[in-house]
Symmetry: C2
Subunit: 357 residues, 2 copies
Amino acid sequence: MAGTGRPGGVVRPTLAVVGATGAVGTVMLQILSQRKDIWGEIRLVASPRSAGRKLAVRGEEVEVVALTEEAFDGVDIALFDVPDEVAGQWAPVAAARGAVVIDTSCVFRMEDEVPLVVPEVNPHAVRLRPRGIIANPNCTTLSVIVALGALHAEFGLRELVVSACQAASGAGHAGVRTLREQLSLVAGTELGTSPGDVRRAVGDNTGPFPEPVALNVVPWAGTVREDGWSSEEIKVREETRKILGLANLPVAVTCVRVPVVTTHSCTVHARFENEVTVDRAREILATAPGVVLCDNPAAGEFPTPVDAVGTDPTWVGRVRRALDDPTALELFVCGDNLRKGSALNTVQIAELVAAEA
Amino acid sequence: MAGTGRPGGVVRPTLAVVGATGAVGTVMLQILSQRKDIWGEIRLVASPRSAGRKLAVRGEEVEVVALTEEAFDGVDIALFDVPDEVAGQWAPVAAARGAVVIDTSCVFRMEDEVPLVVPEVNPHAVRLRPRGIIANPNCTTLSVIVALGALHAEFGLRELVVSACQAASGAGHAGVRTLREQLSLVAGTELGTSPGDVRRAVGDNTGPFPEPVALNVVPWAGTVREDGWSSEEIKVREETRKILGLANLPVAVTCVRVPVVTTHSCTVHARFENEVTVDRAREILATAPGVVLCDNPAAGEFPTPVDAVGTDPTWVGRVRRALDDPTALELFVCGDNLRKGSALNTVQIAELVAAEA
C-alpha cells in the first residue's frame, strides 16, 4: 500500500471517496468520522462541478477534487458511489492506477471476477479480486442479507419470497426532496380519498418516481426487465444467490416505494432445508453480528423505519414460523438503506481490505 | 319480506344500516346512493349519542335512530358495521326479529352456520344462513380475494404468501385523523433521518396505531395471537380458506400499516396446482368480474392507492410468473378498503339476498 507514514511506523492507507457529495457519499463521510480511524489521507472526489466545495470528514474541512486519473495517485482504496455509467468508466481507471475499488453501482456486481461482499456473511470473498474491484450489493439486498445469512448458516436456505418497502432516499437526494415537497402539498388537506386527487395536487412533481409517493405506495423501482420484472427485483435475486453461494435459490421479490425518508423494510418468507423453530431463530438473530432482534409484539416491540434510520444494524422482528410449513419463517426486517444498505457496508469492506496489509 | 309496497306492486325491501355514522357506514350511504336503488325504506341506526343526526342517502336527509330492538321492526336486511362486541350482542337480536344480518365484524365470520361471502367468488354461499347472519370478510382478505378467486378457478390455488400494505382508514375515522395530524407535524421538516426523531415529533399522538405512521411503516395490525402472529394476519388465512373452500391452504400473511389514507395494497405470491402463464393469467384477470387489470410497467401502468381509492374494483398489476417456479404468480393488488374492502361487498351481499325474494 502507498499510504501515509505516521509516528510509530504504522502505514495508514489512503482512501478516496468518489461521489462524496451524493446522498450515499454524505453518509460515507459521517461513517468515516464515527468509526475507528484507520486511514491516512481521505481524499474527496466528485464531478468537476462539485470540485472546490469543502466537506467535513473526521472533524476537518476537506476540499473536493474533480474526478480525473490523477485523483487516484497514491490512493490505496477507492469507495465509489456514482451513477452506473461513471462507475463503469472510472472504476477500472482507479484500479489500473493501483487502488482497490469498492463500488456501489450495479455495473460489476454480477461479474465472475468481481466479488460481491457483505462482511458479516462472506468476508473471505474480499480476497479474490483479480480486477481490483469489489462490488457492494444493492440496498434492498443488503437490507435482508445479514439476517438471512445468519439463518442460512444454521438452517440452509431453500426458497425466498420478499416484499420490499423501499424508502425515498433509495432514489438519492432527489427522492427525498420529492417526497418532502409532495408531503408539504398534501399535509393539512383532505386529499387521498378520491381517485387521482393526490396525483392532481402533485402534478408533474414526481421527481425520480413514476407516481406520487406521498399518501401512496408505488410498486415499481428500476427499469423494465424481461417478463414484467423490474431491474431492482432481478438484482435482489441474483445478488442474494451470489452472496450466499446458492446459484439456484428460488427468489421472488416485489419492490414497492413507500413514503419513508430512509430505511428499507422487508417482509420475508424464507423456507429452509430443515425444520425451524422460532426459539432457535431468535437465538441466532440475537447473537448474529450486525443484527438486532426487536421482537416482542405483546410489548409493542417490532422494528420500524423511524427507529432504524441512522443506525448501523439490521433490525429484525415479527419472527414467526409459517403455520402450515415447519421449515418456513416469516420476518420483518428494517435496515438504513444509506448506511448498511450502502455507505456502511462499503466502509466495512474497505476496513477488511485495509486489514490485509 | 316485509318491505314497502310501491306503485306497480313491487315490494321493495327495507334496509337498515347499523353504524351509519362510522367510516364504513358513511361509505355505505354513498354506495347506496350511487347503485341501482332497489330499496324501500333505508333506516339509519347508530349509537344513542348519534341518534337525531341527519345523514344524506339517496339525495335525502335521513334521521339516525338509536340502536334498540325496535329499530329492527319491519327491517328485511340489516347491514352492521359496529365494534365486535356490539355486533356480537345486536346481530342476533336483529336476526331474531326477522332481519337478514350482513355483518362486517369478525365475530361470526368463522362460525360454521354463518356463510362468509364475496359475491364474485362464492355467491351461492349466501343462501345457507341458518342463523340469519351472513358475514363480510376482513378488508385485507377482500383486497385480494376477488383476483385470487378468479385465478383459483382456473389454476387451483395451492399456497399463498401475502404482504399487505394497510391504509390508515382500516382503523376507522380515528386512523385517518391520526395520519393527517402526524403528516402536518412532519411536513416541511427535515425529520425522518435520525433514530426516533419522528417519534418525538408525534409524541403521544399515535391514535389507534402502536407507532407513528407518518414517514413510517408499522408491521402490526390487530391483537397478539399465538406464536407471534397478529389477529389480522390469522383472519386473512382463515377467511381465505373458508371463502375458497380450501380448508388446508397454506397461507402466510404479514400486515404492515402504511401512511396511505384509504386503499390496501397487497404483494401476492401465489402457487397453483398447475403451470401458469402470464398471458392466461392476464386474460383471466382482464375478464374477471370486479377486477381491473392495470399492468404495463413499460408504459408506467400499475395500480397504486391514490388511483384505486374511491373506486369499486380490485386493481391488479405487476403480474409475473416466478422465475424459478412455473406454477407461481406474483401480483400487486390494490382495493379500496372502505368500498370493496367493506361497504361495497356488504351492499353487494344485500343485493343478492334481496334478489332471492
